[in-house]
Amino acid sequence: MKLIKEKKGPDITVIAKISCINLDYLLKRTKSNPVLMMEMISLYLEQTPPMVSMMKQSFIDKDWRLLSATLHKMIPSFSIMGFSADVENMARTVKALADGPQQIETIAEMVAQLERVCKQAFIKLEQEFMNIKKAMQ
């Protein structure tokens, strides 16, 4: 995994990992304010893991309305947390498939992929959160 050390603001050094997430957008929006960065990451980690579980469960239950609604709520945060456009497009595809004639095998594969990517992102975001916290101390 490639590591890039970036100087962010006068007091904070963030180690941005090139992986499923890229915090450049969030750094710009927060003006590299570590408190705001931590707050945004923390809110994301509060909101999204239950959404991922709900996505998985609604697929198992074949509750297409809930699957669509869950993805609908998850989609805007992908760009905020700097997920690749492929991930966002996949979520939009699953939502469209849940809204329309359901192709169960395709949805199953994509839901599993989205779950994997999100869980990987949660670990990275927890690490980023800790890195920022340490840099502030």
């Binding site: 707050e39 609908h72 709520k73 989609i75 805007p76 945060s77 760009s79």
Partner: protein, 143 residues
């Protein structure tokens, strides 16, 4: 709009996007921001008379019993028909946009990286239009 404080209500059940908007508007000097995660909470605070409301369309997506964006919009308009409401949605759909406008929303903005920029522009237009309207009334009263 330069020196006047604008009381802004932000309503969204997506707490990440809500915080992002709050953060962006807080960086501007002239906004007093109140955030709400449900339409019900927004309505309960309408006595504070917001200058503008930014309201999510899909407030009942995951929480089925929650009041949806259009119902909230209708109730806001019943309480105060002059309160400008801008609708937000994660989807770019013409029928949703038309529905919002039919229910007297000022505009419809898609949640994207440029949403904040669009919202700022719309709010600026709202206040320019209000100013022109007030000036027109002033002249009409003197005719």
């Amino acid at each position: 709009m330069k020196n006047e404080m604008v009381k802004l209500f932000l309503v969204d059940d997506d707490i990440v996007f809500l915080k992002l908007l709050e953060m962006e508007f807080s960086q501007l000097q002239n906004f007093i921001i109140h955030t709400f995660v449900t339409g019900e909470l927004c309505l309960a605070n309408m006595n504070q008379q917001p200058d503008v409301v930014i309201l999510d369309y899909h407030l009942d997506g995951v929480e089925k019993k929650a009041m949806n964006g259009i119902e909230t919009l209708d109730k806001i308009k019943t309480m105060n028909a002059d309160t400008p409401v801008i609708m937000l949605s994660a989807q770019d759909k013409i029928d949703v946009a038309i529905e919002c406008i039919h229910h007297r929303a000022v505009d419809y903005v898609m949640k994207s990286e440029t949403a904040f920029m669009h919202l700022q522009k719309i709010i600026s237009h709202i206040f320019s239009a209000k100013k022109i309207e007030m000036e027109l009334k002033w002249y009409m009263n003197r005719m």
